[in-house]
Symmetry: C2
Subunit: 278 residues, 2 copies
């Protein structure tokens, strides 16, 4: 039997994308855990419990208390043991020279441990070129960038022009860009009520991965203005990975919750991919 995403795995040029496609199939999971927990002990406690259920760990290194080199060492040991990719959600947003320094230098040296980083598109492609040139100058084999062609925050300035620019640049820089952050909660500015997520999937290279934020299983509760989407809605529209944060790390039993999200995400993914083959 052909394994899920086999076609896309063959097409992918970037080593991180290849690893991620393999991990999804092996672990039967498309969960990105967004672990915004600044206390080191609690961070590793939760990660230890749920690491086998996830394929990517998304962090903000600059909110961690008591960061030091041991934090990275411990993280890399867990990565080795449980097989997940490390995603620093840095949202680089400066000119090329500056992001290059921010990616490689300073106390974090992000390039040394983060398989994936995010970059904004509105500063223009120089931002991506800065990251790529840092990568080309190192001995590090696989590094990847995920870009944001949209945001879901109130009154943001992303529009359909930004969406198209993101798709175009992902194509042009497909050696380092492996995908997008994309949400089903944003509609295109056309009468057809097509979501930007549907358009992203339709118009971008097949090997591009789409990571969808704001995922919650229960979307009926009081969401304080945040827009949440179920795994099924998101994945049926083209999302490949679902980013889950508080739904797992604030749960009474994070492992149990991770298992529930994992099953929901995986079932929706298998359903979509099976229907495509029919």
């Amino acid at each position: 039997m052909k394994s899920i995403f086999d076609d896309r795995l063959q097409k992918a040029q970037n080593g991180v994308a290849k690893s991620l496609y393999r991990l999804i199939a092996e672990k039967k999971s498309n969960i990105v855990l967004s672990l915004d927990v600044p206390q080191k002990a609690r961070f590793f406690d939760i990660l230890n419990h749920v690491a086998d259920e996830i394929v990517v760990l998304k962090i903000h290194i600059d909110i961690m208390h008591d960061f030091n080199d041991d934090f990275i060492k411990e993280l890399l040991l867990l990565k080795e043991k449980h097989h997940f990719l490390i995603f620093e959600d840095r949202k680089f947003a400066d000119i090329g020279n500056t992001v290059k320094a921010q990616y490689t230098e300073g106390i974090f040296k992000i390039i040394e441990w983060a398989d994936i980083v995010t970059a904004h598109i509105f500063p223009g492609p120089g931002c991506i070129e800065g990251l790529r040139s840092a990568w080309q100058e190192t001995q590090i084999k696989d590094r990847a960038v995920v870009i944001l062609p949209q945001m879901t925050s109130r009154d943001n300035l992303f529009d359909d022009i930004a969406l198209s620019a993101g798709i175009k640049w992902a194509h042009e820089y497909c050696d380092i860009i492996i995908g997008f952050i994309g949400s089903a909660s944003v509609y295109k500015d056309t009468p057809e009520r097509e979501t930007q997520l549907m358009y992203l999937r339709k118009e971008s290279l097949p090997e591009m991965l789409i990571l969808t934020p704001g995922i919650q299983l229960d979307v009926s509760g009081d969401n304080l203005g945040q827009t949440y989407v179920t795994p099924e809605t998101s994945i049926s529209q083209g999302g490949d990975l679902i980013i889950v944060g508080r739904g797992i790390y604030n749960a009474e039993n994070p492992l149990k919750s991770a298992e529930v999200y994992k099953k929901a995400g995986w079932d929706a993914l298998v359903k979509r991919e099976t229907e495509k083959e029919d």
Copy 2:
């Protein structure tokens, strides 16, 4: 005799803006030194030499090698001695909750030592609200944000709509936003060849400060595609502070170079303000 910017000083609501207007008049300088020098010893060596010539020190804390709490202590001692403001060019670009954590937590605790930070407008006003809410919850008296209503990098996605949004939000959040990064090298999308800088000055609150990047005295040389503007052009169009980096820190004699930029910037400022009164 009335001192320069007296009117704008009276109007300013934000304590950092007030301090900055006073510093400009006292030091007869409108120089923002962009000190992108990651080696601590060289960083402090240059700063020690030129600190009396500048009013703001702009840094990227996340590119500094060997950062630790002593770095901040040493920086604050120099600030105390030479009177300048500290500007962390973080370019916050995430949702409110995340930028709030990035501003206050982690190893850098930016809010504790940076008088000024930059924020992007693309994510919408929630980004500014996140920073403001962090500020309101601390005991720290004066903190300020400078926003980017434009960028000069190639093929960036900023347009006249973004420019107007920036002006509008600066007005709405004028308790914490004290001004803009704005360059004379970008034109408005109108037939009149009006620069975005001229428009920014005309349309924004008078107390808003405009910091202009890409300033060089000699704009005839080989600039490798970077767009540079002279202090005079920039200031005559409404720029208040000139951001100078390599022109000072890569000069054979940084102090001498800082003095030259300081005189050029100050003369252009006095000329503009005097002509206005006539």
